[in-house]
């Protein structure tokens, strides 16, 4: 399970970065939720997006995926607009965003990950099914392939979503709170999987809620609160000063932050 295949580690000026955002502004009902965000994510990085509730974390991902209309600025994926790059992008929406009573099996959901590659009017081929089965096996859900999705636990639902994302075989992934409401075993399994994808050369952006674990999970962090507060390698960005700037005066979180920074040997002014 070791030996990641060699991939170009750094993006040279000729190869555009997997994700480039310029001056992105998004507004709901004329109230801005993201304002002038600039970002260039290098290839092969696992990036955590953190910030307080309502900071625009999910909105950033949705704007990149074309789900939420943008008011200004632009998003480039591998140097192209999304409409020409959607085959290279995988998306894991929030688990609560779908109806889990929907009459489909686990296998059906994972096959949806293949839809972008199958094309109009065609049905999933045997190869698509094999890929879907392999992805289910990777998240430990193969025994549940024929279950209706209504009978799954929260952690199992998240694993199915992850298997679907794997089936997309993308180079860039957006994941909206994949750790929300899952059990510890699932969380560990997801982290292993994310690292594996990263080692294969994929770029992954993950909306994350839990500060103490953020430092261990991600290579880079984007601190977001309406605007970009900071973006860089986790060691440089995960500081008390920057986190305080991101979370403002929310005391409960700040004490949590202090604990988290202290645990990792950081200094608190």
């Amino acid at each position: 399970m070791t030996a990641p295949p060699p991939t170009p580690p750094t993006a040279t000026p000729e190869t555009p970065p997997p994700l480039e955002i310029h001056d992105l502004t998004v507004a709901y009902h004329r109230r801005p939720v993201l304002w002038g965000v600039d970002l260039a994510v290098p290839a092969g990085k696992l990036v955590g997006i953190i910030g307080p509730n309502g900071a625009g974390k999910s909105t950033l991902i949705k704007a990149c995926m074309g789900v939420t209309p943008i008011a200004g600025g632009w998003v480039r994926i591998f140097g192209a607009p999304l409409s020409r790059a959607h085959r290279r992008v995988g998306y894991v929406p929030q688990r609560e965003s779908v109806d889990w009573d929907f009459p489909v099996s686990v296998m059906d959901v994972v096959l949806m990950g293949r839809y972008g590659k199958i094309g109009l009017f065609r049905r999933p081929s045997r190869a698509d099914r094999d890929i879907a089965r392999a992805c289910l096996d990777k998240v430990g859900m193969l025994p549940y392939a024929n279950r209706q999705i209504a009978n799954l636990s929260g952690g199992q639902q998240q694993r199915v979503f992850l298997a679907r994302a794997l089936a997309q075989e993308s180079d860039l992934y957006f994941m909206d709170e994949p750790f929300a409401g899952v059990d510890a075993a699932t969380e560990a399994a997801i982290v292993t999987l994310l690292h594996e994808l990263r080692d294969r050369g994929c770029t992954i952006l993950v909306v994350h809620h839990d500060l103490p674990t953020a430092r261990n999970y991600f290579d880079m962090l984007l601190l977001l609160n309406l605007r970009r507060v900071a973006f860089g390698p986790t060691d440089e960005v995960f500081t008390y000063e920057l986190l305080q700037k991101t979370y403002g005066g929310r005391l409960t979180i700040l004490s949590e932050v202090a604990d988290a920074v202290r645990q990792h040997g950081g200094s608190i002014p």
Binding site: K62, G66, V67, H86, V98, P103, M112, Y115, R123
Partner: protein, 341 residues
Amino acid sequence: MNLADLIPPFDIRSVLIDPWTTDFPEKGWILLMGFLTSVACGWVGQHLLLRRMALMGDAISHSILPGLATAFLVASFLFGQRTDSSHAARDSSVMLVGAIGAGWITTLLIGMLHRRSRIKQDAAIGIVFATLFAIGVVLITLFADHVDLDADCVLYGEIGFVPFQPTLTAFGIPLGPVPVTRMAVVTLLTVLATLLFYKELVISSFDAGLATSLGIHAPTVHLLLMGWLSVVVVSAFESVGAILVIAMLIVPGATASLVAARLPTLFTLIVVHSAISTVVGLHLALWLDCSIAGAMVVAGCCLFTIAWAAHVLLRARDQRHLSADIPPSSASEESTSTALT
């Protein structure tokens, strides 16, 4: 008055045997029309149910009325007054254009109302379809000379008249009464479209976000679906009317979804449900001498009630089994906690 006098006598011969023998040339068309209508409505309606917008069927079936009235009005000014009933093809296309136009306007108006203001979606649906329907009623009565529409017929339909409609002939071969042939084409296209666009329909219903990220434009799929819904509803009008169409859109899918766990089974069961409710409904109507379309819908609703009762009983049995597996201490804890809340 004796209550038993209200129920007509049950004559096995005229109720159960004649429609399949001596009356079959006539009743056969009614059965076929009922079945085709129910399948087309059931399949389109299932997509609405999956998207949790069953009420859109309600809305569009009503707001089509002004669309039809306007289309007929425009057509009568453009092509002159209709003189005989041989313009079946022209009438059909006029109806389709009016229906699709009305369907899209309804969809866009509802979307606009609840996106641009504090009006919630259910209220927006109620406002739009009631307004458009009222405008339709006014148009029909105002221009009765130009608009060949009967409000009663639009509301309730009359499937019993279907066999006596002019027969459509193609290349010298008599195909069948015009409404039945039209419904057959619409049903066939509904089934084909569902099979061809299965992936796109399912993914945009289940996970619009993922669909968008894959390049499937969910709002376009929605608009196309609403347009198609209008086509199905307008084709079903003549036989079942605007009110019963709503039942046919929802009941077959709702019944099937209580039984089936996966979509292919579900769509198959809708066909089975349509066949049973059509046949049972016809016999019921012959016995009680009542509206045939009404009886078909009542039969369909009976199937739903049976499926629902079975579903509830099975679930209760499963839960008893489950609670029997739980150790007594925790089970009693659970009962006290529920008693407290």
